[in-house]
Point group: C2
Chain length 660, copies 2
């Protein structure tokens, strides 16, 4: 077999020198062998500290405080606690004008949506307006996003409504239900703030995008089906959320369908969907879809007012109390039979609203190229919900649809949230009686228009095209939510995602490598036709950490590779196999089971007179190999930095010993 | 900066040709760039089939059947179902002699241990002997290990005893307790056989070695403490298993301590421990420790018989029924309140006994260099337990201590199990009355001697030295079992192990690479002092798959690397950063979240006028990158096969455009 040089010229190092000059007789020069070094020594404590830092402080939050005077540190500290200090001093009239325009625009959306979403959570409509007043004010002081429009959102409202109403009837036990809603909101806030404080923000990463796409679509379908009550004018509707009971309830109450309601509802629905469609096609016309809900409310209220004496088929909101948010801290509920339910609802709505709020914040921050700090956002959203739970608000977060409108309307800072809150304040103080005749059907139509956009079938189709398993996860969460229940559907999807990680670790890929002729490159022989096997060697790459979960499998798999290779050689009358080279580049971690498997593998290969050689173990793996003394037991020619060096050195040794 | 050649000579390919001859003016030649190819095209079905094969048939069980005549296939099929056919035809007198010696040796251990372990499981002593008769016979036909000595074992006996006696009293409800024990055994067998049939053998891999070391040690301590009852002669002992209640029960019943029992117990314990110690030091003297339990039983029984009229302080076994295993299929219990308990106990004892049996089988198979097929062993052990549950046996598996004696006594085939079963048969038919005066203290001493060897503190110390996290897992399972409960301790340890995998995926390592001068090798600059950064480039290696669980983290971490690198450059007045090279060699998998993170990263780097380049994505990753069109969006110079080629090509391009 070809025994050659390992001469590689200096190529891109700063000091144009060539360390290994090309000689005429290059093929006879000695192979240059680089030793594999251990990573710099660290104590167990240092390692733990680094690991701790990586896990909890990957963003290095204290970096900005280094090399600063104490005065600056205090200012920086205040700014990082209250981002309003970062931009507050530079705030001017021009920014204010933009913020007022965008603030009023989102207010015109927030008022009808607030009322509608509160109904979705089975809460009195006024709670939706309360929730659009206090939380935005708090967020504008604590939050770091400039475009997030804060208030109630459809998914969290739906989840809270469905989870609480399974145990407590919102109509018969309305006070208890309200208490539980505020308590859940409190726990949601507590959970969110703790995640931020404990820097456990990565928990929300476990809700992967495919899970969320499926979940959101499933929830949107459920929400849409619930709106059939309002749109068809049904009075006795099921309290359940799943597809089958809702559909059967719709058709079993056909006698309650009211044609006036259906006609008016479909009319407004058509208007709302058309305006939404126009704005989606031309983002500059965002105001059309932004203004249409309020306009529809006004027009439909007028219509109902005008025909109030002619028909009673169309149900309307009725009396709403005037005035600011009443305090509700006395309604929080910290003991009793329903506490577990409140905590569970709080955690699930908390994590869902957090995911939405942070995703929305990141989306718009990335468009304008500023940073939104995940952990800080969690604290802001958490505190805003805890404060909200004491002022008659239910769970709130950054809404995707309103934030998009906010962004398009030219919002520059969180002041737009303050403007919106002021508009809601005016409504609460003076305009509540005007909603007396607002028909329920228009609320249903507004919700339907909002949630229909959440069914992202294009994203699902893309998942199918790019990654079948992700599509499977997405479908699990979609059907889980639609057919089983909201928390269980979510749990199934998260379970499937985690299972995928475990499965990948349990059955990792191993590849046979070959040399690409004329280079030092070794690549998969299956994938690169130019890559050819090297006689006497079997070069395998393991594509995963070696853990307890896969150490037995890998050991068996490598022995099977050896068997297959020997059969192949026999068939082709090739030269005998002498050495198994294990490329460890992609083995990012190893545990004691993995090390034992390597020992065992070496022992079994030795019995077949095969040598085992390890190539390029990464730092942490090298350290453990060293500590467990496997390196010593492999011998001098058992560890190389590159596959090329291993092949060159071993084959020249064999040549020196007169082996073929 | 140095712009050079990427000329590497052919080194070890079979056809001694040099594809890139060394020219005198080498430094001016064009860089040879290799394109990254896609893996061979496969349909989704083909991929699923391959994945399925990898997960369920990693050992390619049908390989042997290929290219065979039908006659041979039938023979091979029979051999693989009943391994006895593999060696049966070559069995001769010489082998038989070895097997008879070893079979009788393990019988002398199995009889006293069988009686003792049955007491550990709170079962009548005779059940322990029944269990040493039927299961070994079945295993000798179905099992593929030649050295496994089958029968009741301490851990599974303890777990069954502790789990069942928490709900049902073995003294007051003895019939129900017996029924539950047989039912649990049936479910254990069913579970084991199903794991084998469904080829889900990897489930037992999730009990990692550290978990098992801790668990076994914890269980051994619990078992030892339970023996205080027999050794101290306590009559009213607690039914609980945890450390604290047992110790308080021992000391609160000090009045029941009997000095005769203590004296005799400690005497025999000392003898047993000494003989065990001798055999451990000199494996050739294995027969000393193998014979001592039976000898102790005989001597102590004689002693008690002689002093039977002088004292009643020493409790003894009493009457044992004579005769063969009675059928017990009518005692299986498939409905009622305790069914869930029986299933749970069955699954836990099943998985534990399976783990022990397979580990023991593999250990001795590896010493004699033959293969033990995991899935087949599972079926053998499973069927033997299902059959056992119908013939008055409780859960059995391969015992470590008896298998070691079997191996040392020269066992050659599974016939030694048949010999042992025959010895047990003779005992059951004729010798049972001889055990009437066997004192309980000797059973306690035998159990103590057997389990003390299971506390492997040296292995725990090695874990501490090599891998702190594995040590932590080990301690979790040790203290979990000791202080909480057996199944919960096990669950905690498995949870911790899985959490480690998830944590590793959630916060993967990223490394900065530099070039080792004079080579094409790129390695971590922190680890290799020879590796130097290349001006204008930041070369990062990601050491993990990119998944939903880490995509956000990686994106942020890479941006932080960029910030830090720019700060470093500013400090040293280096040349501006222009390109981020991401070495994807160790990224063994990617999902849609990961791809989106790459898109987003590219977008954010572009805003800072930085180019993103990917290097050497593995096959499956490349496929997804291609499908998601990210390769196209990165442009022509966005993907290279090696870091060296990327650096060389990009810097020559910059030079051509007149950039520094």
């Amino acid at each position: 077999m070809g025994h050659g040089t390992n001469r590689v010229e200096d190529m891109a190092s700063p000091n144009n020198g060539t360390t290994a000059p090309a000689t005429a007789n290059a093929r006879e020069t000695i192979v240059e062998i680089h030793s594999v070094c251990l990573p710099p020594k660290k104590t167990a404590f240092q390692k733990l500290k680094k690991r701790f830092g990586d896990v909890f402080f990957p963003d290095d939050p204290l970096e900005r405080f280094r090399n600063q005077t104490w005065r600056n540190r205090v200012i920086l500290g205040l700014q990082s606690l209250f981002p309003i200090f970062t931009w507050g001093s530079q705030y001017d009239l021009k920014l204010l004008r933009s913020d007022v325009v965008s603030g009023l625009t989102i207010a015109s959306l927030a008022i009808p949506q607030g009322i509608s979403y509160a109904k979705l959570a089975n809460l009195p409509p006024i709670v939706g307006l309360y929730s659009s007043f206090v939380p935005p004010l708090i967020y504008s002081v604590l939050g770091s996003s400039k475009h997030l429009a804060v208030g109630p959102v459809s998914i969290a409202s739906l989840v809270m409504g469905s989870m609480l109403s399974e145990s407590v009837s919102p109509t018969q036990d309305s006070i208890l239900y309200l208490k539980l809603a505020f308590t859940s909101t409190f726990f949601a806030g507590l959970f969110q703030a703790s995640l931020g404080l404990l820097r456990l923000g990565f928990v929300i990463d476990f809700l992967s995008k495919p899970t969320l796409i499926g979940f959101t679509a499933g929830a949107a379908v459920i929400v849409s089906l619930q709106q059939l009550k309002g749109l068809l004018g049904i009075v006795h509707f099921t309290g359940k959320m799943q597809f089958i009971p809702v559909m059967s309830s719709v058709f079993s109450h056909r006698s309650e369908w009211s044609w006036e309601t259906i006609l008016m509802g479909l009319g407004f629905l058509a208007i709302l969907l058309t305006t939404r469609h126009i704005s989606m096609r031309k983002p500059k016309l965002f105001w059309i879809s932004a203004a249409s809900p309020l306009a529809s409310v006004v027009i439909s209220t007028l219509l109902v007012f005008l025909i109030r004496n002619k028909t009673h088929a169309i149900s309307f909101i009725g009396h709403l109390p005037k005035g600011l948010n009443p305090p509700s801290s006395n309604m929080l509920y910290f003991s009793g039979t329903h506490l577990a339910l409140a905590i569970k609802t709080g955690i699930i709505t908390g994590i869902l609203s957090l995911t939405e709020g942070i995703a929305v914040g990141r989306t718009f921050a990335s468009l304008k190229n500023y940073q939104v700090n995940g952990n800080k956002e969690m604290m802001a959203i958490g505190f805003m919900n805890m404060a909200g739970s004491c002022t008659s608000c239910y769970v709130t977060t950054g809404s995707f649809s309103r934030s998009a409108v906010n962004y398009n309307a030219g919002a520059k800072t969180a002041v737009s949230n303050i403007v919106m809150a002021s508009a809601v304040l005016v409504t609460l103080l003076f305009l509540m009686p005007l909603f007396y005749y607002t028909p329920n059907l228009i609320l249903a139509a507004i919700i339907l228009t909002a949630v229909i956009g959440l069914i992202d079938y294009q994203a699902a189709y893309k998942l199918w095209k790019v990654d079948k398993f992700d599509f499977f996860t997405c479908m699990c969460s979609f059907f889980g939510v639609l057919l089983v229940s909201v928390p269980l559907g979510l749990a199934i999807a998260v379970g499937v995602s985690v299972l995928k990680i475990l499965l990948h670790v349990t059955r990792p890929n191993t590849l046979e490598f070959g040399n690409i002729q004329g280079t030092q490159i070794y690549q998969s022989v299956k994938r690169y036709r130019e890559a050819s096997r090297i006689p006497g060697f079997l070069i395998l790459a393991v594509e995963s950490p070696i853990y307890f979960a896969n150490s037995t499998y890998l050991q068996e798999r490598i022995l099977r590779w050896t068997r297959e290779e020997e059969a192949r050689i026999k068939e082709n009358n090739g030269s005998t196999l002498k050495c198994i080279i294990l490329d460890m580049t992609a083995v990012s971690s190893i545990d004691t089971n993995g090390i034992e498997a390597l020992f065992e593998l070496r022992r079994r290969l030795e019995k077949q007179s095969l040598q085992l050689v390890l190539v390029n173990p990464v730092g942490s793996v090298m350290e453990k190999l060293h500590k467990s003394k496997i390196i010593e037991s492999l011998g001098l020619s058992g560890l190389y930095l590159t596959v090329g060096e291993a092949v060159a050195d071993l084959s020249s040794t064999w040549k020196a010993h007169g082996q073929p």
